[in-house]
Amino acid sequence: MMFSTQALWWLALPVLLLPVWWHRQKRQRIKAEPLATARFLPAAPPQQLRVWRWEEVILLVLRCLLLVALIAWLAGVFMPWRGDTILVDPALAASESATAGPALRRESNFVSRTQQRNLDSRLRGGPAIRNDSFGANLMASTVDAASAAAGSAENNGVAWAEQQIVSAGFKDAQRLPLPADVLPWLQAHEHEWRPGARLLIVAAALPMPAEFPRLAHAVDIRLRPAAAMRPAGTTPGAVDTASTHHVALATTPERAPAWRALFSAFDAAGDCGQRYVLDEAPSAKTELIVWDAPGMPPPSWRAPLWWVSSNFAAPELATAKQVTIDGIALRIADSARGRIWASSVWPSADADAARALYETWQALSRLPVRYPAPELSMPAWRTAPLAMPDAPPAAWLAYALLILFALERLLTHARRR
């Protein structure tokens, strides 16, 4: 069973007629030598002069094979070699250990719907939160650390994966580590699997694509349930250091309690996975500088984002237009210090304003969360893989091409001798 990723090249097959034509030329069966006294010899019958015949059959076969190999190489012919395959998320094995690895965090940068609901109910105990999207935004970076925080022996990832593999009937199948973007990867590599092969994806979570690709093989996606991902013993206090955010706060003593209350409210937002540490002066890790004091900050202070009061005398702010985002009137300007948000309303006095500020901040400074894909069984949509113009040609064909070329040259040379 062979497939071709660039099938249009097969249209070049009539080129094979050329060597056939060359080797089937009309030749003189009797080779004529010049002879001065030929006129004294009896004349040969003229009908024997020119006949159709095959010449150098081995060379013809070699040349035809060479052309076929060349066309096959251009057409991207390959032999599918993979059978039933399990794609296992390496994050599952990593979650076995007590500490969360960075791989897991990378892979599960999103949460399932059930997790989302859990977090929402948790948030309702804090500031008055009505909108679900607040929780969804919050979850962006909170779930992964929390879910990986602890794992118990009875529900570790490997055991769950084994159980899924057995229940899906993939006991003897080949195992591959889950590639980063598995569904587009499968689409690009689907010609590697034999027709009728099945695939099982066992992962902690998968990003939801805009559209599921229609693959040539049946794909079964098994995702680890959220409950298993998030053990009951996890507390909001168990926070990884990576989710700690440093904020430099420079304010007057009378406004300082309001700012501290605001950031402690941010601590409790979402699933309580984010921790905001307030410092006196900015460091290299500082993400935000709050300048709510009279005068100008030292020129060495740098941060990606500044929140300043409206009487902050930066030249860039003078020309900035007033915009209103989520009900907060802001002037936004980019300066050498960093991006500056100037407003007269902070520190926010009520929970709604605080929530609006938090939402705006998160929405503007963080990437959108990828939506988790559901568990799914996809049937085989086609019997043959799609033509893939970018698929690399098979290496063995290139070697065959090289060997055939060398043989053809050798034989041609030997024939001339």
Binding site: Q28, I30, K31, A32, E33, P34, L35, A36, T37, A38, R39, F40, L41, P42, A43, A44, P46, L49
Partner: protein, 296 residues
């Protein structure tokens, strides 16, 4: 050195071959340099009654008190014309000696004749029939003429056909004075424009001497059986030799050359037949002696 025809055939330098071939031949077969009244001093000879008084050297008489007569070399008035047939059929190679063909043999033997003529002080010229035209080198004497003729001979290659009868006939005016014509060809076409031109020369009272060249394989008919052969000058298709045809071939060829010989005898033309495998000096000697025999 240069003992066999094969070795000779591989020597590209005509000058060297001439020196080798003529090594035993001296200054030719007949004494060409007549002494008498001329420009170039040769020797003194004792006065004999009947000598012209103006040829007596008076200064020598004053010194020696004897009569001496100045002898000078007299220039020969016989021009030698070398006629080379360089048509495609002359490219016929020897099937026994590699690198030897009829054209090479004819060219070399004519070069030797040119050298002999130059040594004897005769004027000599060259006529080459090749590629449908005739190339003339006017007759002259001296070593530079020899070099000119040798260069012309080395340049010739065997291509094309004989020029037609009309153009050959119109170009025969070269030999007004009685001259010697040495023509080397294979004479496979007879009668032909070439034969007509030579007979015409003979009728103009020139001394015409022909050298008919053949290869040993042609004489024996020892070609490969089953191979197809074509005539290089006549595109009349393919010929093939089979076992029964060999004898017929020999008969036909012998009859052809018998006809040529009869024709030559009738017109008093010397014909010498040679195989290109035989030594060059032998063929040269045989050709020249044939003419000498008639002279005696």
């Amino acid at each position: 050195m240069l003992e066999t025809p094969a070795l000779l055939a591989h020597a590209a330098d005509l000058d060297l071959i001439i020196r080798h071939v003529l090594a035993g031949l001296g200054h030719g077969i007949h004494a060409g340099r007549e002494r008498g009244a001329g420009v170039e001093f040769s020797e003194y000879r004792a006065y004999a009654p009947g000598d012209e008084w103006r040829r007596v050297d008076w200064k020598l008489l004053a010194r020696a008190d004897r009569y001496y007569v100045r002898e000078a070399e007299r220039d020969s008035h016989v021009a030698v014309w070398l006629w080379l047939d360089a048509t495609a059929s002359m490219a016929e190679p020897s099937r026994q000696v590699a690198g030897l063909d009829k054209l090479w043999y004819a060219r070399t033997i004519l070069a030797c004749l040119a050298a002999i003529a130059q040594r004897q002080g005769d004027a000599f010229g060259l006529v080459v029939c090749t590629g449908g035209r005739t190339e003339f080198t006017p007759a002259a004497r001296g070593p530079r003429q020899l070099q000119r003729v040798l260069a012309q001979l080395s340049r010739v290659s065997a291509t094309g056909d004989m020029p037609d009868a009309a153009s050959l006939k119109s170009s025969l005016h070269f030999a007004r004075a009685p001259s010697l014509v040495f023509a080397a060809s294979d004479f496979l076409d007879w009668p032909s424009p070439l034969s007509e031109a030579l007979l015409r020369l003979r009728r103009m009272r020139h001394d015409v001497r022909l050298l008919a060249l053949r290869t040993q394989a042609e004489v024996d008919g020892s070609f490969k059986i089953g191979t197809g052969y074509r005539d290089p000058e006549q595109g009349d298709g393919l010929h093939r030799l089979d076992a029964a045809g060999r004898e017929a071939y020999r008969t036909a060829l012998a009859a052809h050359f018998a006809g040529v010989a009869t024709d030559c005898r009738r017109h008093d033309i010397q014909l010498y037949q040679a195989c290109i495998e035989q030594p060059l000096s032998l063929a040269l000697r045989g050709w020249l002696q044939l003419a000498g025999a008639r002279a005696r």
